[in-house]
């Protein structure tokens, strides 16, 4: 008998399932970052998307190239056009030896308000065809504040299972111990460049501090940005309170229904006693045709989770910018004293 250390036949190897190593790092090339920045900035404040191409190697997802999508009209006929465009681009890029493998997509966002149901749906669409895909979010408005706001996101596995089952009731969520933090996983980004490019860049940009100082970061006026952030935050809080009202309504309905059920049961029991006394058959204690026994569907918690995520994002941003402002104010104070 062949021991387990003997070489396995081809059939055996093909039959065993590959263990998917978890995605740990997204490695992006500088070229891709520049392209994303350029595309998003050109069309800001409109939101744009594009496709990412690259390789999936072990626990690292390498993104080596990307191309932008044209702005989609709402027309039906242009749907086919969009698919054609994609195929055409992939084919052309293949001819110049660019990796032809889709690994995800990127999109721009305003002030970090990207958690929507569409994002999740797009993720699910991609996930069906590609084993591992990632979404890169770029925020051009934050870059005006002097921060490179680039994030790589992935849906967590447990969330995806729940979504496929399409059940977001409190029971299931408690089972899986899933809270709003677990929907999206953020993956650290590594940047890599070919040696040729870094040689060129070092060549072209002199190393003097004068040209290198990023004056945008030292700008003192962060008020407009904060104001917009607060506006978005307030809107989201309104949405959240609406969702909570929905839950309250549902609970009230549920408890009312239960009270009705109890009352009906009492009546039935009383009837049955009477019947037993009269010697007749007792009626069943349940009556599925009675409308008060119809189970009320619990509203999905997906929306509230997403909104919560959004709010947390805004809060983080506010914290970040406030921290930076502190730095700038103290710097100014010190300079002035000197």
């Amino acid at each position: 008998m062949a021991a387990s250390s003997a070489p396995r036949s081809f059939l055996q190897v093909a039959a065993t399932e590959e263990v998917v190593s978890p995605l740990r790092v997204v490695q992006i090339e500088g070229l891709v970052i520049l392209k994303i920045i350029k595309h998003c900035k050109e069309f800001s404040p409109a939101l744009v998307t594009g496709q990412l191409l690259g390789l999936d190697v072990g626990s690292v997802l390498e993104v080596t190239n990307c191309f932008p999508f044209p702005i989609r009209e709402e027309d039906e006929e242009i749907e086919a056009d969009g698919a054609n465009y994609q195929l055409e681009m992939m084919r052309c890029l293949r001819e110049v030896n660019v990796d032809n493998n889709t690994v995800g997509w990127y999109q721009s966002t305003i002030l970090g308000s990207y958690q929507t149901v569409e994002l999740i749906e797009t993720f699910m669409n991609y996930q069906e065809n590609i084993r591992r895909c990632v979404c890169i979010i770029y925020d051009p408005s934050r870059s005006n504040q002097g921060v490179l706001a680039l994030k790589a996101l992935k849906l967590s596995d447990s969330f995806m299972e729940l979504y496929r089952a399409n059940s977001f009731t409190g029971e299931k969520l408690r089972e899986k111990n899933l809270s709003w933090v677990d929907i999206f996983e953020e993956i650290p980004i590594k940047v890599s460049n070919s040696a040729l490019i870094s040689a060129f860049m070092t060549e072209l940009e002199a190393d003097t501090p004068v040209t290198q100082c990023d004056y945008d970061r030292l700008q003192l006026s962060s008020n407009p940005y904060m104001e917009r952030n607060m506006e978005f935050l307030i809107e989201c809080m309104d949405d959240l309170s609406m969702e909570q009202q929905k839950f309250q309504y549902h609970y009230r309905n549920l408890s009312r229904q239960q009270a009705q059920q109890q009352a009906w049961l009492q009546k039935r029991r009383a009837e049955n006693m009477a019947r037993k006394a009269a010697g007749e058959e007792p009626l069943p204690e349940e009556d599925p045709t009675n409308p008060i026994f119809k189970p009320i569907p619990e509203p999905s918690r997906l929306e509230s989770f997403l909104i919560t995520n959004q709010i947390a994002n805004y809060c983080n941003q506010i914290n970040g910018v406030a921290g930076q402002s502190f730095n700038r104010l103290y710097l100014m104070k010190a300079l002035h004293d000197n």
């Binding site: 500088g30 070229l31 970052i33 520049l34 920045i37 350029k38 595309h39 900035k41 050109e42 932008p68 044209p70 465009y85 055409e88 681009m89 052309c92 110049v96 051009p140 002097g146 921060v147 490179l148 969520l173 408690r174 809270s179 980004i189 590594k190 940047v191 460049n193 070919s194 040729l196 870094s198 040689a199 060129f200 860049m201 060549e203 072209l204 940009e205 100082c213 990023d214 945008d216 970061r217 030292l218 904060m226 607060m230 935050l233 839950f247 408890s255 918690r301 509230s304 709010i311 947390a312 809060c315 506010i318 406030a322 921290g323 930076q324 402002s325 730095n327 100014m332 104070k333 002035h336």
Partner: protein, 286 residues
């Protein structure tokens, strides 16, 4: 000179005298990437440059893509259909980008380049030819831009001369932020807000130190005083608004308080979120 004078070579000086080109670093990245990925038998990469012509005549080169080509000793063949396909695709995304020229890697302009330049000049009136020296032949990477000028002897076209035009490497602010990351071959993680802040402040400090040293040197006579620099420095220092200390302190404190308020608000919001989440999922109907 008279057009009928056949012994004199005529240079038709167009408005190319003041033509210049601006290149976005994305184009350089693209070209390098295509060069690294070229098929093994090709020595150089040829491609199209996209961009626009600004109102003052400078050519703004914003994007590029490679075009497959075959090259032998006598002839060069370019895949024209591919070129058109890519152009159409790119224009679907950004209709404002048009062909402004073409690029090739390798130092200098070769014989085959004239033919390709001819082809491109049929598409665009005055194409710009960019050469990117990827082999660092002289020990440094040289990027040059050329336009072609026709040399005519009387009525006959003699040759096309490639004249170099000034080139300017531009970078938009957002790209400059990422620029540090783009310079090295590998960065482990994107710098967070605070780290970036720190780096910027250090640079500012270095700048101020330099100026200090320079002024000291001038005062002590080690360096000859340059009036223009002195004026610039005094302008910069005068740009600080003259505020009395109490007024300045009040300003700073007000801003500080505003920021603290916002921080407090966001912490309250987060607490609220935590509570709401517990209530939502933990509540059970018994």
């Amino acid at each position: 000179m008279e057009a009928g004078d056949r012994t004199v070579l005529q240079f038709r000086t167009h408005s190319t005298a003041n033509l210049s080109a601006k290149v976005h670093p994305l184009v350089v990245f693209n070209i390098c990437d295509c060069y690294v990925r070229r098929p093994d038998q090709a020595e150089r990469v040829i491609g199209t440059l996209l961009g626009s012509v600004l109102s003052d005549g400078t050519v703004d080169i914003r994007n590029s893509y490679a075009v497959p080509h075959t090259e032998s000793a006598e002839q060069v063949a370019l895949d024209i259909e591919y070129h058109h396909n890519m152009l159409v695709s790119h224009q679907k995304v950004n209709p404002k980008e048009v062909i402004v020229g073409w690029y090739s890697t390798g130092l200098g302009v070769t014989g085959g380049s004239a033919l390709i330049h001819d082809f491109y000049s049929r598409e665009v009136p005055n194409p710009v030819h960019l050469t990117v020296d990827t082999e660092f032949r002289n020990g440094e990477g040289i990027i040059k831009a050329y336009v072609s000028v026709n040399l005519a002897l009387g009525d006959r076209q003699l040759a096309a001369q490639f004249q170099e035009i000034p080139l300017d490497l531009r970078m938009v602010e957002a790209e400059r932020l990422g620029f540090d990351i783009l310079k090295t071959t590998a960065v482990d993680k994107l710098p967070s807000d605070l780290e970036g802040m720190e780096v910027t402040m250090q640079r500012l400090l270095a700048l101020i130190d330099d100026i200090y040293k320079h002024v000291d040197d001038v005062v002590e006579g080690r360096v000859t005083a340059d009036n223009s620099i002195g004026r610039i420095i005094s302008d910069t220092v005068a740009a600080l608004p003259k505020l009395s200390p109490p007024a300045f302190d009040k300003l700073v404190n007000d801003s500080l308080q505003d920021q603290l308020l916002l921080l407090y608000l966001s912490s309250i919001t987060r607490t609220q979120l935590g509570l709401a989440e517990k209530l939502n999922t933990a509540a059970q109907i018994l």
